[in-house]
Every structure is written in structure tokens, then in C-alpha cells.
């Protein structure tokens, strides 16, 4: 049986996607927070906590993911971070462990993440939409 390819999740949570880049300045090395979308924009996402069985399986394979985000398909890599803007996870930061593009025809991408303390940075930069 083929898996459903367009069983879209209801994306009722707003998030921001960013990566951290090291920059050398006069005062030494500083961290730049680079958003992967323009200023004053957000990304819609579906988010849920992984179930116990999913977490146990993840632990067995040494994968510490604890939250799943689903966003519209973008070239997201595992060195990016998620900042939640609305919902019960508001203001929390998550690191992406791995994007899951299993259903290639789907227009969505699943991101397995784990929570991290909020990052410290020196400068902010806004990029264009990540395609």
C-alpha cells in the first residue's frame, strides 16, 4: 500500500528558521544568527512531541529527537535551528537533527528536532526564502 503523499498536516504553529554562523570581527569571533526567510515573516508548521515508542526507538539508534515539526518543503539542513513564535512551545529553541524527505512526492518535509537552551548571538541577519 502506498503511503499518503499529500495528507497535509494542519500547520497552526508559527516558527522561525535560522542558522548560526561564526564571524571574525575586531573583537574576536562572534556568532551571527541568520534567519532563512525575510524580516517580519514566519513559517507555518505542524508540531508534536514524539511518542514514547518513537523516542525509545530513537534512543536505541542514538537519536535524541523529541519533537517533530512539519513544514512546507524547503532545502532545510541539519545545521539549522527552529525558534517557535506561537503555541505552547512559544519562545523555545530546537535544533534540527535531521530533515525527513521520505515521501518524495509530498510537498512537506518532516523535521526531527530536540530542544536546546536559547542561543546567544551578536548580530542578526535576514535572508531570502529558502527554496
Amino acid at each position: 500500500m502506498n503511503p499518503p503523499v499529500n495528507d497535509y498536516a494542519i500547520k497552526d504553529t508559527q516558527i522561525r528558521l535560522f542558522s548560526l554562523e561564526k564571524q571574525t570581527s575586531e573583537s574576536g569571533e562572534v556568532l551571527k544568527k541568520k534567519y532563512q526567510h525575510p524580516e517580519n515573516t514566519i513559517i507555518h508548521a505542524y508540531v508534536r512531541q514524539l511518542s514514547a515508542s518513537e523516542t525509545s526507538f530513537g534512543n536505541a539508534t542514538q537519536d535524541g529527537s523529541s519533537y517533530l515539526f512539519v513544514v512546507s518543503r524547503r532545502a532545510i539542513t541539519s545545521d539549522m535551528y527552529i525558534e517557535v513564535v506561537t503555541g505552547s512551545l512559544k519562545e523555545l529553541t530546537f535544533q534540527i537533527d535531521g530533515p525527513d524527505a521520505y515521501e518524495l512526492r509530498s510537498q512537506e518535509i518532516k523535521l526531527y528536532t530536540h530542544q536546546i537552551p536559547s542561543v546567544t548571538y551578536t548580530t542578526i541577519e535576514y535572508g531570502s526564502w529558502l527554496k
Partner: protein, 158 residues
């Protein structure tokens, strides 16, 4: 007058898509919603000042139905059939009310002015037509204050 039932921004919000979503696709959805609502309910948004909330609600459900089930896969989490069919019936009633109210509005606007004793027949006809409307149809009559002014003037003249 409203151009379409849903603007592209409303479509974007209904679908929870990001700001970089294809604008051409959003415009296509907005046009399809307007034609669907007009065809199925006879509610013509181009003839009203503000789009009725039920029309907006129907449009949002229809656009979700198109977007989530458009590829031919049925998604059990996105079944809006019952909502759409019940809203169609509700909006058909509203479209009928607007049509009935339009008749009364036309009668009021056809009253010969300035108001004299000769206008009495037209004013009485308009008032009778208004009184014969159902209560919910009366909400859609826009020229009622004009009719009341005519009636006051007629009393002064007679």
C-alpha cells in the same frame, strides 16, 4: 463593491501557507472560490458592499477542500463536505433574501420625486411590499430610511 469572496490574503491564511507561496496559485484559488459560491448559491459578491461572513466561511472551507484533496487523494483529516453542503443551503437563503429585498429597494427608488399626492400610490405599494417581507429579508433592504422620509413628506403634503 467586493470583487471576490476571498482575497488572496484570506486564501493564504485559510491554507496556512507561507508568504512565499505561489501568488498565481492563490489568485486561481480566489477566482475558483468566487465562481463556486456564485454558481452553487446564487450569492453574487460583486453586488454587495461587504461579503457576508457565511460566504467567507464557505469560501474558506471550499479552498481547503481544493487544496488538501486536490491531488485526488482523499484525506480523512480534511473532509469539509458536510460543512460545505450546509453552508450552501444557508447562503442560498441569504441570496434569496437579498433578491427579495432588491425588489422592495427598486420600488422605493421608483417613487416619483419630489413627493406629491401623486406619489402616494407608489409609496403605499413600496410600504406594502416591505411589510410583506419575512423578518430576515427586511435586514437586506437598504432604502428603508428613504421610504420613511417619503412617508413623512407625504403626510405633510396631504
Amino acid at each position: 463593491m467586493a470583487d471576490q469572496v476571498l482575497t488572496t490574503d484570506q486564501v493564504k491564511k485559510a491554507l496556512s501557507v507561507d508568504d512565499d507561496f505561489d501568488i498565481v496559485e492563490l489568485e486561481r484559488y480566489a477566482k475558483l472560490v468566487s465562481s463556486f459560491v456564485k454558481q452553487r448559491t446564487r450569492y453574487d459578491c460583486t453586488k454587495v458592499e461587504t461579503v457576508h461572513p457565511l460566504a467567507i466561511q464557505l469560501g474558506e472551507l471550499y479552498v481547503k477542500q481544493m487544496y488538501y484533496n486536490g491531488s485526488g487523494d482523499f484525506n480523512r483529516n480534511h473532509d469539509y463536505t458536510i460543512g460545505i453542503s450546509s453552508l450552501i443551503v444557508d447562503l442560498q437563503c441569504i441570496a434569496d433574501s437579498i433578491k427579495e429585498a432588491k425588489v422592495v429597494d427598486d420600488l422605493i427608488s421608483e417613487v416619483p420625486t419630489p413627493v406629491t399626492l401623486d406619489s402616494a400610490a407608489a409609496i403605499v405599494a413600496a410600504r406594502t411590499a416591505y411589510d410583506n417581507l419575512f423578518e430576515m429579508d427586511k435586514d437586506y433592504v437598504t432604502n428603508l430610511s428613504l421610504l420613511e422620509t417619503y412617508e413623512e413628506t407625504l403626510l405633510e403634503v396631504s
